[in-house]
């Protein structure tokens, strides 16, 4: 009894530290300390968890932790910053798997009440969806499977059938909670299947939404597991993660001017027909780009996923430094959905040593975009497409964009004239003040740098 109270007191301390840790994540200056506090909270919770009644055998616990530590530490050390989205997707999946397994193991307990059975089933269900959904998301991000939306006719009917099957088999299992029951296997199988079905119709540019959502699910799954085994720290921590994922999901959806339902259930913009864009593109050579940049006093970089692909963040920073030495004011404007996950571009630029004061958000740069002499668009497309503002027929109409077309000059670094992930033409490329710098982003910028 005493040890039980002690463990619960430790959980309170741990919850408080988690909260302080998240609070310090509110500013880049304190964020690292916040993460440390959060890990201290985890340590306290884990130690307290080890004192729980009924734990007599530490061999397997030790084995599990050893395996997890080796995999986790290696992954954290070896992953490149460009592949962070894949990494987070895998972590989401592993969180889901853990909750699924905890729920499954809880089914072996004695005297399970109907409510407990219900929460166990929720843990299995949400954990299962998170697990396979994240694996599919990982496959798409790393392009092991096609990154486009996969839609087939009757998809909604199939999904509805899966849902109905889940409700029914879940009900049957809750009435007779027993891991030997055939209904258990039906619930498990359908949950795993639903995770796959939920993510395959979502295409490349919508991945930030999916990752955020799966992040939230992994927290909710932990919450459900907490209910299943009556553990309050699981509920608190799971709820914090769940809330975080939902907020990010919401931000991503707003940044694309789409509802969550629209992202989840329809492949991108197959319906509307946008105006075809016609005009003449004006290519520019690195030399000429240099002359313009040399005279510029306010330069703004607008990075997109293409910068990550070309690994151009370091040369971008180098060019930014040269421009600063030349007396120009340099900033980096980042659209909320640039890249493949929330904050992806910020991390890449931070990796290249860009001070975080220079990373500005869309809402901050847009009011003063007219004072920008040169906006340099690197591997971004849809997030700077003026059709979102002007062409009501465009599938991306209404999406907030960075208004680079209103800057005095725009350089667009691009491999070819292909359209972005949404497949929408971009009138920016034909703009009066736009110059196209064709070729690999990294090489193009290096070429400009050698001119300095």
């Amino acid at each position: 009894m005493d040890i039980h109270i002690l463990a619960n007191l430790a959980y309170i301390v741990s919850a408080a530290l988690f909260i302080f840790g998240l609070k310090q994540l509110g500013s880049p200056a304190t964020a690292r300390r916040g993460n440390l506090l959060s890990s201290l909270a985890m340590l306290i919770a884990v130690v307290a968890g080890l004192t729980a009644e009924g734990i007599v055998d530490f061999k397997l616990i030790g084995l599990g932790m050893l395996i997890g530590t080796i995999i986790g530490a290696l992954a954290a050390r070896l992953v490149s910053m460009t592949s962070m989205p894949e990494m987070v997707a895998l972590f989401n999946g592993s969180g889901g798997a853990a909750s699924l397994l905890v729920g499954w193991a809880a089914l072996y307990g004695a005297d399970i009440s109907v409510f407990a059975a219900f929460t166990i089933i929720l843990a299995i269900l949400i954990g299962g969806i998170t697990f396979t959904g994240s694996l599919v998301a990982y496959g798409k991000l790393s392009e092991i499977v096609g990154s486009g939306a996969f839609v087939f006719s009757g998809q909604r009917i199939v999904n509805s059938l899966i849902l109905i099957g889940l409700v029914y088999s879940g009900y049957m299992l809750a009435m007779d909670p027993n891991p030997e029951s055939v209904w258990f296997w039906v619930v498990l199988g359908l949950s795993l299947l639903l995770g796959i079905m939920a993510v395959i119709p979502i295409g490349g540019a919508d991945m930030p939404v999916v990752i955020s959502l799966l992040n939230s699910y992994s927290g909710i799954a932990a919450c459900a597991a907490g209910f299943a085994i009556n553990n309050n720290i699981l509920i608190v921590a799971g709820a914090l993660v769940g809330a975080s994922g939902i907020i990010l999901t919401n931000i991503m959806c707003k940044a694309m001017n789409r509802s969550l339902a629209n992202v989840l259930f329809s492949g991108f913009g197959a319906v509307k027909q946008a105006k075809a864009v016609e005009g003449e593109v004006k290519p520019i050579s690195p030399q000429d780009a240099y002359y313009i940049l040399e005279a510029a006093s306010n330069v703004c970089f607008v990075p997109g996923y293409g910068m990550a692909v070309a690994q151009a963040q370091h040369v971008v920073k180098e060019l930014g430094e040269l421009l600063e030495k030349n007396g120009a004011e340099v900033s980096y404007a980042i659209h909320p959905v640039a890249g493949r996950m929330p904050g992806h571009m910020n991390v890449l630029l931070a990796e290249a040593d860009v001070p975080y004061e220079q990373l500005v958000e869309m809402d901050e740069i847009n009011p003063r975009i007219e004072n920008v002499d040169v906006a340099i668009v690197i591997g971004a497309n849809d997030v700077v497409n003026p059709s979102a503002r002007e062409d009501e027929g465009s599938p991306i109409y209404g999406m907030p964009i960075i208004n680079v077309d209103q800057a005095r000059t725009v350089f667009v670094l691009k491999r070819s004239m292909a359209s972005g992930f949404s497949g929408v033409d971009n009138p920016l490329f034909f703009g009066e003040n736009t110059r196209m710098l064709f070729g690999d982003a990294k090489e193009s910028i290096s070429a400009v740098i050698t001119e300095f």
Binding site: L22, P28, R32, N35, V56, G219, A350
Partner: protein, 95 residues
Amino acid sequence: MEIVFLTFILVLSIFLGFELISKVPATLHTPLMSGANAISGITLAGAFLSAGLVDDGLAKYLGTAAVAFATINVVGGYLVTDRMLAMFKSKKGSA
């Protein structure tokens, strides 16, 4: 009563979560996500219960697998978040 009590905790935590997270700037959204990954490894505390059971049933091995998965989250999540946050530097050069 236990159910009401746990639900009470859940509801308050959700509100607190929304308050806290909405103050995190966009710059830190990726570390926020990987940090959240680490926190969701809290399932570890629950996984111990099954992995440390006396009997030698399947539950024990499920629990062990759960411990391994959750530890990946905890260790990997915190390390990679720290690695990222260490890169965010201010202009003055101090982190």
